[in-house]
């Protein structure tokens, strides 16, 4: 029974992890940017939900669109105004640029929000569904379902809309896409905006089931590193697989090795996968 409970917890956690990593995978896959700001957008999205709940009593699941739209705009501006200037530079430049922005934003967030850990506590927070002797926390299930739905919408968007196709064309060949009349600067800004919106959405979800603080962005960022590396870049199933594997490894690792080493397991997995199959377990060729 303990194993069944841990299995369910792992799957629920894995779904959230996948949701966290999707935006990161998109930005990395399309623009070859290792987006250090990803955790920061996630954290800010969580704070949008937190403050709307705290100040106006808005239900956390209703404030999702607000957090997504504000962070889409923020991401769009950041990409258009700053990152687009150095897109063709060695890939390392964009990494260090987003790191600089992350330092700045996190510091400001600590100033305005304080470093305390916050969590949204709606009235149904402690509610859980009993099922055959197992207890399934209601909030985590909702987060899981919403995460999967939103990821599917993104998947559909990438495959079936004009903008989605332009994004994929840009990923395949920057210059050819430009010759076909794609406005690269705009497409890049939209892609980055979508990445930020996805991060913010998962941040809003995380702020309900877990806790956030301005400095927790690094934690989610390194989770994204691990998930994308395990699962591989270039498709959403990769993020899903990576998320599930990490969720399982962390929960079962905590059971056997003690909770202290829970985070270390992720890094061991990361290094092992890089050693055995650097393109990730489900990664497609050409996305290294």
């Amino acid at each position: 029974m303990v194993y069944a409970q841990i299995l369910i917890n792992s799957i629920l956690l894995g779904g959230i992890y996948a949701c966290i990593a999707v935006g990161f995978s998109l930005v990395w896959g399309v623009m070859n940017i290792l987006n250090i700001m990803h955790g920061t957008f996630l954290m800010l999205g969580g704070y949008v939900t937190f403050w709307m709940f705290k100040l106006y009593g808005v239900d956390p699941f209703l404030s999702l669109p607000v957090s997504a739209v504000t962070m889409f705009c923020a991401g769009y501006v950041v990409q258009r105004g700053l990152i687009n200037k150095i897109v063709r530079a060695p890939m390392f430049m964009s990494l260090i640029l987003t790191f600089g922005l992350q330092l700045l934003v996190v510091r400001l967030a600590i100033y305005f929000f304080t470093g305390d850990f916050r969590s949204v506590q709606p009235s149904y927070a402690g509610f859980s569904i009993p099922l055959m002797g197992l207890s399934i926390p209601f909030v985590r299930v909702s987060i899981f379902v919403l995460g999967v739905v939103l990821t599917s919408i993104l998947f559909w968007f990438m495959g079936h809309t004009r903008t989605g196709r332009a994004i994929r064309a840009t990923r395949m060949d920057l210059d050819s896409a430009q010759l076909m009349g794609v406005d690269i600067g705009r497409i890049y800004a939209i892609t980055y905006g979508i990445g930020a919106a996805a991060a913010a959405t998962s941040g809003s979800l995380v702020s309900v089931g877990f806790a956030i603080s301005p400095v927790s962005d690094v934690e989610f960022l390194s989770k994204s590193f691990i998930i994308c590396t395990i699962g591989g870049l270039g498709n959403i199933t990769g993020a899903l697989a990576g998320g599930l594997i990490l969720g399982l490894a962390e929960n079962f690792g905590a059971l056997y090795l003690g909770p202290g080493l829970q985070n270390a397991i992720g890094y061991v997995l990361l290094i092992l996968v890089l050693f055995i199959k650097p393109s990730g377990l489900l990664g497609r060729k050409g996305f290294e």
Binding site: N32, V87, L95, Q102, V218, S222
Partner: protein, 327 residues
């Protein structure tokens, strides 16, 4: 053959070292401590330059080796070893770990290499947080140094200076040796370098090992000076970031660049926002953004361009820098 330029370089380097040796005789302890911090980040930046600047592999491992060296010194000094011997053991341990890790992770390129090195540093931190020998999350105490503040400030200053001089001299000889040219060839085009007979795997591993030795020694000096270590302090990713940013500010891939960057950055942070220590990291962030956008090739290159085209063209140079890589 008489090469005057080489002599001028030797002369200026000697003068610089002499000035740093004489510095403690003229200034207050506070100022000595400041220069000790500058030397520490200069060690990190110079070491990063081996793998990140010359070879073009963006490593986030300096923090890993810095922490490794710090904990080696802490544990061995508690066991009764002499301080300088622990520095040597720390350096050897750093080199061995770099060798063992370098074989798998130097096969990776680009972002995957960056993530792997980041993962290594974080893994070490988690390990130090959980092992008994490191004292876990509670931290570990070191034996206190005996003697007055005048004595131990100078003792740590000269220890740091020694490591820094060693690092810079090593870098100087590497850049003028076959090895250095091989590394630059790998940075410019790894496949082409392999084709022309550079043993890329061996060269990259040597660069990675070199980039690990000096941070480990610097970490040892830091540990003895701090007298108390916590995993979060010494395996801090900010050590890696500072090393990278200072190299970039001065000029990646040159011997002088990281040194210029380290001095500039520490002095800037001291004078511009010494009063706002709380916002130190925010200002660092702004500097990073400005450097990446406007002087991506560093102050050394910028000063050469300004020298050849005159001060009037500074704006033009900065403008062309920001437009070079845009879409």
């Amino acid at each position: 053959m008489f090469k005057p330029w080489a002599h001028i370089q030797w002369f200026s380097m000697g003068a610089g070292v002499l000035a740093l040796i004489l510095l403690p005789s003229f200034v207050e302890n506070d100022e000595i401590r400041k220069w000790m911090d500058i030397l520490m980040v200069a060690i990190l930046a110079t070491s990063w330059n081996f793998i990140g600047g010359l070879t073009g592999y963006p490593s986030f491992a300096p923090a890993a080796f810095f922490g490794l060296g710090a904990y080696t010194t802490a544990i061995l000094m508690n066991a009764g070893f002499n301080f300088f011997i622990t520095l040597g053991i720390g350096a050897c341990l750093g080199a061995l770990v770099a060798l063992a890790l370098g074989v798998p992770i130097l096969r990776l390129r680009g972002h995957y290499f960056a993530i792997a090195t980041f993962g290594v540093a974080e893994f070490f931190r988690e390990l130090a947080d959980n092992l008994r020998i490191t004292g876990g999350g509670d931290g570990i105490n070191l034996p206190q140094i005996t003697g007055g503040p005048d004595y131990f400030t100078r003792f740590f200053y000269f220890s740091m200076l020694g490591v820094a001089v060693l690092a810079v001299l090593t870098q100087y000889f590497v850049t003028r040796h076959r090895l250095g040219y091989g590394l630059v060839a790998i940075r410019e085009n790894e496949d082409a370098a392999a084709m022309t007979g550079v043993d890329t795997t061996k060269y990259k591993i040597i660069a990675f090992v070199l980039s690990s030795i000096f941070p480990a020694m610097g970490g040892g000096v830091y540990a003895y000076r701090a007298a108390f270590l916590e995993p979060i302090d010494v395996f801090d990713v900010m050590f890696s970031i500072k090393a990278i940013v200072m190299s970039m500010l001065g000029g990646v891939g040159t011997v002088m660049g990281p040194l210029v960057g380290a001095v500039m950055m520490e002095y800037l942070s001291d004078y511009l926002w010494g009063a706002f220590t709380e916002f130190h990291s925010a200002f660092l962030g702004i500097i990073i953004v400005l450097v990446v956008l406007f002087i991506p090739r560093g102050l050394m290159t910028l000063s050469q361009e300004v020298k050849s085209r005159g001060w009037g063209s500074l704006g033009l140079i900065l403008k062309s820098n920001i437009q070079r890589f845009k879409v």
